[in-house]
Every structure is written in C-alpha cells, then in structure tokens.
C-alpha cells in the first residue's frame, strides 16, 4: 500500500536560555493510507512535538533537518498559507484535554458548523465574511448527521439537544466524541489523536476506543498514548519513542508479542505487573534533552549496553519486518 505520511530524519529543536533542547532527533515514521499507527513512549520523549511538527504547530520549536512527506509534498517546507489548507482538511487533530478544547462561548452546533466553514473557506476570515461559500443550515446539519452516523452516535444521542448545548453542559466522554466528530467533519486523510483516553474514566475510555476501532481502515490514524491497551486495541502498527527518536516500529501484534529493543521490553514489562509483583525499577536518570549522551541515547539505562553503544548512534535494523534502532541487532550484536 502507498505511504500517506513519510517522516524522514526529522530534527526539531527549541532554543532556550538553558541551551538547545533537541526534542526530536532523527525521527523516521511511516503511515500508510487508512492505517492506524500508535506512538508510545514516556513523558518528554518528544511525542507531542512530533505530531505538532507534522502540522507545523511546533513553534517556537524549529524544524532544522529532515522532511515530512505527506502525499508527496514536504510539509516541513510549505508556506504558512499552504499549510493552512493542509490543517484540518488533510490532517486533523484531536487534542488531549477535552475540557478546554471546545470554546465555552459557543454551542456544540455552532462549533461543528465552524469546522465545516473553515474547511470550505480554507480558514480565511475575510473570505468567510465576504461570503464566498455561505453554508446553509440544512447542508451543515446533513454533514453533521452523516459524521455522527459514521461514529454510530446518531442513535445514542439526541442530536438536536446535543447541538444546542454548551460545552460545560456535556460530560467528558461526550465532549471527547464531539471533538472527534469535529475533526472528522473536514474528512481528513490523517487523524491525529493525542492521548485520546487519558482524561476519561474506564467506561468512557472503552467507548472512545470503540469509536477509533470503527474508524480503523477508513481513515489513516496516528494515536499518541501512554495507554498500551489503547494502542494494542486500535492500531495496526506501533512506534516506540525514546529520547526524541523512534527506537522500534513494526506491526502491533509483533512488537507487543516479541519486543526487541531493550527500551520496548522495559516499557512493556512495566505495563501489567501481576498481583504481588512490584514494578521493575528502571536504573539511570531521565534523559536530559539538552545534553544527550553520545551514541545510543538509551545506553546509560540499558542492561545490555555494549562498548559500541556509547560511541555510535544506532541506525535502524530490520528484523522480521520490525525496524529496531539498536546495536544488538547490528553487526556488533550478532558477533
């Protein structure tokens, strides 16, 4: 299948008074059309900066190297005007915090309508004011109904009542669904969801995951999450991130069954401790994003580190369809 999104050697830095923060250092990532890809990794590993960079919303961070090929075009080099047309209608974003992601001054219906207007007018206020594409209420309603139908929400909720409500009158789960519906209204080719289940209770998490499962195969998705269950349930492939790079990526089933990179193994072993077992402690310090260790950024915490690990940054090695950036799978590891 053709690749929809192809990120190659992406470097994003932030200039701070304390020094240059390297949030992304050489990210490689592929998303095929209609494929769901999960990104997991600890806090501060660069997941958020990565997806913001895809939309060029990473300011004040700077993309200093690498490319983001979306449908053959390099987003890292597009102008802001062209980027505006990509945002929303090509790549849509569902933000993590559903409590603040809706404008408290407008009803759900008004905000869903706004998403449509932005799509039609390319987010240009003046074109909208001068009314090049006036949307009538019937058209807006038809689009909203069809998206809610896609999400199988048409029967669950009373649509008329929902559209007249203000965000603060909705439950967290409902707000999350409205956000997803809003993103889908523009019929994006890639949907990015940042921690879609984090701020929800268990039951609502299940409902939200069911939504993503419904969407699976119909639109490409990039799901960023700490919750490995969420990723294993909804994604075809996963990418594990550490220290601003992706250390392992491949089919979800394979990575979860046979984690290869020492960091992936550590991450998965922390996920579900059996009763009475304590979590394995992780030695070493959390990574300093300004002062990276030479070689593999994980080697100070790695139990299988070799001498080469502290000298050479590993490139990706392919093992049974899984790409692992670790010297254990290179020449040094085999010998």
């Amino acid at each position: 299948m053709k690749e929809l999104l192809k990120v190659r050697d992406l470097h994003v830095v932030f200039e701070t008074p304390g020094g240059l923060v390297q949030a992304n250092r050489g990210v490689n990532l592929d998303v095929k059309a209609n494929e769901a890809v999960g990104i997991m990794g600890e806090s501060g590993c660069g997941k958020t900066v990565l997806f913001l960079s895809l939309l060029r919303l990473q300011q004040p961070g700077k993309i200093v190297q690498g490319c983001v090929l979306f449908d053959g075009r390099d987003l890292a080099r597009l102008g802001q005007k062209e980027m505006q047309r990509i945002r929303g209608s090509q790549i849509a974003l569902v933000l993590q915090d559903h409590a603040t992601a809706l404008n408290p001054s407008f009803t759900v219906g008004e905000q869903l309508g706004e998403a449509l207007v932005i799509r039609k007018n390319g987010g240009d206020l003046w074109r909208t004011v001068w009314g090049q594409h006036k949307l009538d209420d019937v058209e807006v309603r038809r689009e909203i109904d069809s998206v809610l139908q896609d999400l199988a929400l048409g029967d669950v909720v009373h649509v008329d009542k929902l559209l007249d409500k203000y965000p603060h009158q909705l439950s967290g789960g409902m707000r999350q669904r409205v956000l997803i519906a809003m993103a889908l209204l523009a019929r994006p080719r890639l949907l990015i969801a940042d921690e879609p289940t984090t701020a929800l209770d268990r039951a609502t998490q299940m409902q939200t995951l069911a939504l993503f499962e419904r969407l699976r195969g119909r639109t490409a998705m990039l799901i960023i999450s700490h919750d490995l269950d969420a990723i294993s349930q909804t994604c075809d492939r996963v990418a594990v991130m550490y220290g601003g790079s992706i250390v392992e990526r491949g089919a979800a089933a394979e990575v979860f069954a046979n984690p290869r990179h020492p960091y992936t193994r550590l991450l998965l072993s922390c996920q579900k401790p059996r009763r009475g077992e304590s979590l394995p402690p992780v030695s070493g310090d959390v990574l300093d994003l300004i002062d990276f260790p030479p070689g593999c950024s994980f080697h100070p915490r790695c139990s299988q580190a070799m001498s080469v690990c502290s000298q050479v940054k590993p490139s990706e090695f392919e093992v049974e369809g899984v790409k692992v950036a670790c010297h254990l799978f290179g020449e040094e590891g085999r010998s």
């Binding site: 919303l57 505006q84 945002r87 915090d97 992601a101 809706l102 001054s105 799509r119 909208t128 523009a186």
Partner: protein
C-alpha cells in the same frame, strides 16, 4: 448573593434608562428654553421655575435636563473611544506577542504612569475646548488600563485548547482573533466600557468645573462651574449646585451598579449559579 447582584444591576439599568429617557425627551419635560435670558436672575424655586433661575436668568431645571445630554454624550462617546482603542491595542498586543507586544505595552505603560487629570488639562488647553475635543482627550487618557486588562485576558485565551484546536483545523490568525479570542474577552470589554463611562463623566465634570469645558454647551459640570464662579455656593443657593452634583453622583452610581452585574456575569462560574 448573586441574585442580589442581579437586582442591583437591574436597578442600575433602570436609573440609567430613566436618565437617558429624560434627556432624550428634554423638549417635552422642560418648561423653558435653557438658553433663554430675560427672566429675573437668582429666583428661588417656584411654580414657574421649579429649581429657580441662575445669575443670567436662565431656568435651572431646563439647564439640568439639557445638561444631561452633553454629560451623557461625552461619557458614552469618550468611553467608546477609550475602550475601542484599548481593546484593539490589548488584542493585538496579546495575540502577536514578541516585539510588537513590547512596543505597544511600553507606550501603554507611559500613558498609565502619567496622572490622567493633569494630562487632560494640559491637552485641552492646547487643543481648545469643544465637546469633540473633550471626548477625544478623555478617550486618549482612559484607554491604557483597558489595553492592559484585555491583553492579559487575550494572553490566557490564546493559549487555550480551543484556539490551538481551531488553529490545527486550518483557521488563520484573524479568524482565531475574531471568532475565538474576541468572544471570550467580550464580557470583560463590556464591563470596562460601563466603568469607562462613569470615569469619563466624572472627568468631564472635573474639567468643566475647572473652566475647561465647552462654554457653548450646557453640561452638569458647567452648571457646577457657573454656580461656583457666580456665587451660588457662597450664597447657599442649593437648588443651583446640588441638582447637577446629585445627577452626576446618581449616574455614576447607576453605572457602577451595572458594572457590578456585568463583571459577575463575565465569570461563567457565577453565571451558572444565577441561572439556577
């Protein structure tokens, strides 16, 4: 408590509406032309002249009602100038950040530091005293605090999830500012406006009292000025200086009552309590 605040607001609105209505219907209410001379000066209140006459024989009650026109006009117009300027500068400053923000806030700080009344006096001496000059001058000195308040609110709103969300949906900067930031600072703008009217009216009264008002227009401040200058205070002619003073106080009170409610309503948490 919130319900009480609501009642106070409506009381303020009622008083204000009454005053505005009186000045609009001035020709119907007033028994005489406020400019007409020829009556006997310094008359005590009576049937023909409800509040007596002034030093040149003009009917004080008619002066009072017509004076309200000028005072209210200056108050509202100057507040409009001040709040529009302040809002524009605050919005742009908070939204664009960086160099432009620093420059605009630098100017704002300079205006904030200069005491308002002496500056107004100074400027009005230079530009001359017509109603429109007074409006501009009062507007000129009253925008900085509004700019500050709007900027800080803009800063917090622009970092909110829904602005980021709309940005990610493909909205441009002017869209974000107009559709997302402005509606969420609007209650604040309204509250500032009501307060600015009260401040502008007081400032107009002070200016006129000092003799820097428009001598060709009648306002409550000018009435106080003449009452003071022509011996009304010394001779205890309370019907000359008390009514305009009370009118100014009443108007300011009403505006502050309205402001009280608007400010409470701009806080969504309190709003929900009121709806219950």
């Amino acid at each position: 408590m919130p319900i009480k605040a609501d009642k106070m607001t409506w009381a303020g609105v009622a008083i204000l509406a009454l005053l505005v209505l009186c000045t609009i219907l001035a020709p119907l209410i007033t028994p005489h032309d406020p400019w007409a001379y020829g009556r006997q000066p310094f008359l005590n209140p009576g049937r023909v002249n409800p509040l007596g006459t002034n030093d040149v024989g003009q009917d004080i009650f008619s002066e009072l009602v017509y004076g309200g026109r000028t005072s209210l006009l200056i108050g509202f117009a100057a507040a409009l100038v001040a709040v529009t300027t302040g809002t524009l500068i605050g919005l742009v400053s908070g939204f664009c950040k960086g160099r432009l923000d620093e420059a605009l806030m630098g100017i704002t700080d300079v205006f904030l530091v200069i005491p308002a009344l002496p500056l107004v006096i100074l400027v009005s001496v230079y530009v001359g005293t017509s109603i429109w000059n007074i409006i501009l001058v009062i507007g000129l000195v009253s925008w900085p605090s509004t700019a500050r308040v709007i900027r800080s609110q803009t800063l917090s709103v622009r970092e909110s999830g829904y602005v980021e969300s709309a940005h990610a949906m493909g909205a441009d900067d002017s869209w974000l500012m107009w559709r997302h930031v402005l509606p969420n600072v609007l209650p604040l703008i309204l509250a500032r406006f009501v307060l600015a009217v009260a401040i502008a009216m007081l400032m107009e009264a002070s200016l006129s009292f000092l003799g820097l008002g428009d001598p060709t227009a009648k306002s409550w401040g000018m009435m106080l000025h003449y009452a003071f200058a022509r011996g009304g205070f010394i001779n205890g002619l309370w019907w000359w200086y008390l009514p305009p003073g009370l009118a100014i106080a009443l108007c300011t009170l009403a505006l502050n009552l309205v402001n009280f409610g608007v400010e409470e309503r701009s806080d969504p948490r309190l709003k929900r309590v009121m709806e219950r």
